[in-house]
């Protein structure tokens, strides 16, 4: 999201500002720890195709415990599942899926939510009435019901998951952005822009949104974590991406009944989800702490 907003101005001063804000992270060990957790999974996900891993969907030897030796002389670091698939490889390829879809869904929800919020907050009047009403209807709706209905009827594809997350998160984002914009629109630089004769579009996208980014970045981090939970939860409930590609939630659902004799099969993906979400939440927490200091 940061890149999204800052790509508007690529002047050297913006670049140096970005470097400086990354340097700010050093003030908060919590933020650094969170960021390292996220980077850990991002790097693994990017390197997945070149790492020496078994094929995540190949049936090898079922029910191997962690650190047991493979038939071909290799090692099953985290064991294999009930279908004999290498769990380490499935967790890493699953990270790819989760990261791609959680990021896409959050970014799309943010674009929709920010546009709605900035229009409602800046233009006001009927725009505000209509957008706020739609948001309130969606907000008073239990999120999970929205997910279940959208996905059971439209099918479990990546696109529909993005759609469902957008429906569920955009109203909340809209509310935050609207509140921020209502405050910002009374600032002098907005009046200056209006006097210059800038179009409403320019004021909304170039003047208002970039200046509202502080609280939005923190919120985006939290939402990334929450979307990760959502996507894994949908996978767990059988509403996730279609098989056979590994999906953390589905890995838990498939192997949970077999926990009595091979608990590692469900514990490993559960730990993976938790650590990634923890990363997002700690980063958000650290960023909030830093922003409160100045």
């Amino acid at each position: 999201m940061t890149a999204e907003i800052q790509s508007n101005d690529t002047s050297p001063s913006a670049l140096s500002k970005m470097v400086k804000s990354i340097g700010l992270l050093r003030e908060s060990p919590i933020a650094i720890f969170g960021l390292s957790l996220i980077l850990f999974w991002v790097i693994l996900a990017i390197l997945a195709p070149v790492l020496p891993l078994y094929d995540p969907n190949a049936p090898l030897e079922p029910f191997k415990f962690p650190m047991s030796e493979a038939r071909d002389g290799g090692l099953y670091w985290l064991g294999t599942d009930h279908k004999g698939r290498d769990i380490l490889s499935r967790v890493i390829f699953g990270a790819q899926q989760v990261l791609i879809w959680a990021t896409t869904a959050t970014v799309v929800a943010y674009i929709v939510g920010m546009l709605m919020g900035v229009i409602a907050g800046y233009l006001g009047g009927w725009y505000d009435e209509v957008i706020s009403f739609i948001s309130n209807v969606l907000l008073s709706f239990p999120v999970i019901v929205l997910y279940i209905i959208i996905i059971t009827y439209l099918g479990a594809t990546g696109f529909n998951i993005v759609l469902a997350v957008t429906f569920a998160s955009a109203p909340g984002i809209m509310r935050i952005v609207r509140g921020l914009v209502l405050d910002l629109r009374t600032r002098d630089y907005i009046f200056a822009a209006q006097t210059r004769g800038e179009s409403s579009m320019y004021i909304m996208l170039v003047e208002l949104l970039p200046n509202a980014r502080g609280p939005l970045i923190v919120d985006a981090c939290l939402r990334l974590g929450y979307t990760t939970i959502t996507i894994a939860m949908l996978g767990y409930l059988g509403l996730g991406l279609p098989p056979p590609d590994p999906d953390w939630g589905k890995m838990i659902a498939e192997t949970q009944p077999l926990g009595s004799f091979a608990g590692h099969m469900a514990v490993v993906p559960a730990a993976a989800i938790s650590s990634l979400v923890l990363g997002f939440n700690l980063l958000a927490d650290g960023l909030r702490e830093i922003s409160m200091k100045d």
């Binding site: 919590i30 309130n136 209807v137 008073s140 709706f141 239990p142 999120v143 999970i144 019901v145 279940i148 209905i149 059971t152 009827y153 974590g225 939970i229 894994a232 939860m233 767990y236 409930l237 059988g238 939630g249 838990i252 659902a253 949970q256 926990g259 009595s260 608990g263 469900a266 514990v267 559960a270 730990a271 989800i273 938790s274 979400v277 923890l278 997002f280 939440n281 700690l282 927490d285």
Partner: protein, 310 residues
């Protein structure tokens, strides 16, 4: 207050109509597939059409919707294809089971999170504050299906203290309900605790607390008599509004522990395409969501003397 109640009621009715109509319309385009699920994968299209005809699904769309709405208003939610019985017979016992689950969750979560939040917020930046803050981030980062996996690995499979499923086949059992409630509390308490902490920390910096301390009132009494009342307004609304997203946790926990509750009914109904079950469950969920918002608004005005509806 009455105007507020009326507006909320009106918007709830509007949402319910929009939602139930949309669901009906979606089902309309999908009903052959549902007939296929009832009659099995090898049934012919003619058989499926016949089934739809015999069960009244081929009546004009609007007419069916209006009839259903009329019946629903009198408490008759139609007939479940999956359970082969009236929806209300399935719905109410399931709802009662979930109410037990949610009630126990609230009974443990509220005292726990309020206490922790107040302890942390009393002294911002202190050790107890750090512990509670970091602890609550940690627990809210572990979604229910993950913590359920961890806790069953420990308490069910390793120590063998608790049963792994909570189907309650031989009546209500405390041992079976323990883990579902525990999992919900561990995930859910952090949010309220953080809200309470923030609210308490804000109150503690206010002038009247400083005055009370400077007057020489014992610290304990300042907290109990002066700070708590104002600090607990915000958490109250948060707790009530939690009902809305508690439903996602409830569904996950009910599926994980095979607990026969409302959430599982909704999920199974949606996966099967059991239209009347979905309709009834969605209406109940929307009702709970809107009603809890209303309660939270009212409670907020009652607790906070600075806000009054004129």
């Amino acid at each position: 207050m009455l105007i507020l109640a009326f507006r909320r009621f009106l918007s709830m009715a509007l949402i319910m109509v929009i939602v139930s109509f949309t669901l009906f319309a979606i089902f309309e385009s999908d009903k052959l597939a549902v007939a296929g699920k009832v009659l099995g994968p090898y049934s012919s299209t003619e058989q499926r059409e016949l089934w739809l005809e015999n069960n009244g699904y081929n009546e004009p769309f609007l007419e069916r919707y209006v009839t259903w709405v009329g019946n629903a208003l009198t408490g008759d939610f139609g007939y479940s294809i999956q359970y082969k019985s009236p929806v209300s017979e399935v719905l109410w016992p399931r709802l009662a089971n979930t109410a037990i689950l949610a009630g126990l969750y609230m009974a443990f979560m509220i005292p726990l999170s309020l206490t922790l939040g107040v302890i942390a917020g009393m002294k911002e930046g202190s050790l107890q504050d750090r512990v509670v803050s970091v602890g609550s981030v940690l627990t809210t980062s572990v979604p229910e299906f993950a913590s359920a996996t961890f806790f069953s690995a420990i308490f069910v499979f390793w120590l063998g203290w608790l049963p792994g499923t909570s189907a309650m086949t031989s009546g209500f059992s405390w041992a079976e309900i323990f883990l579902p409630v525990f999992v919900l509390v561990v995930y859910g308490f952090g949010y309220t605790a953080r809200m309470t902490r923030a609210s308490m920390a804000e109150v503690m910096t206010s002038h009247y607390i400083r005055t009370a301390v400077l007057k020489g009132i014992p610290y304990r009494r300042v907290i109990m008599r002066h700070a708590l009342r104002n600090a607990l307004i915000a958490p109250f609304t948060v707790i009530i509004l939690q009902l809305n997203w508690l439903l996602s946790g409830v569904i996950v926990v009910e599926v994980f522990f095979a607990y026969k509750g409302f959430g599982k009914l909704l999920l199974d109904g949606a996966l099967f395409g059991d239209i009347y079950v979905i309709e009834a469950c969605t209406l109940v969920a929307v009702f709970v969501a809107v009603f809890s918002q209303f309660i939270s608004d009212i409670g907020y005005t009652l607790l906070n003397p600075r806000i009054r509806f004129t």
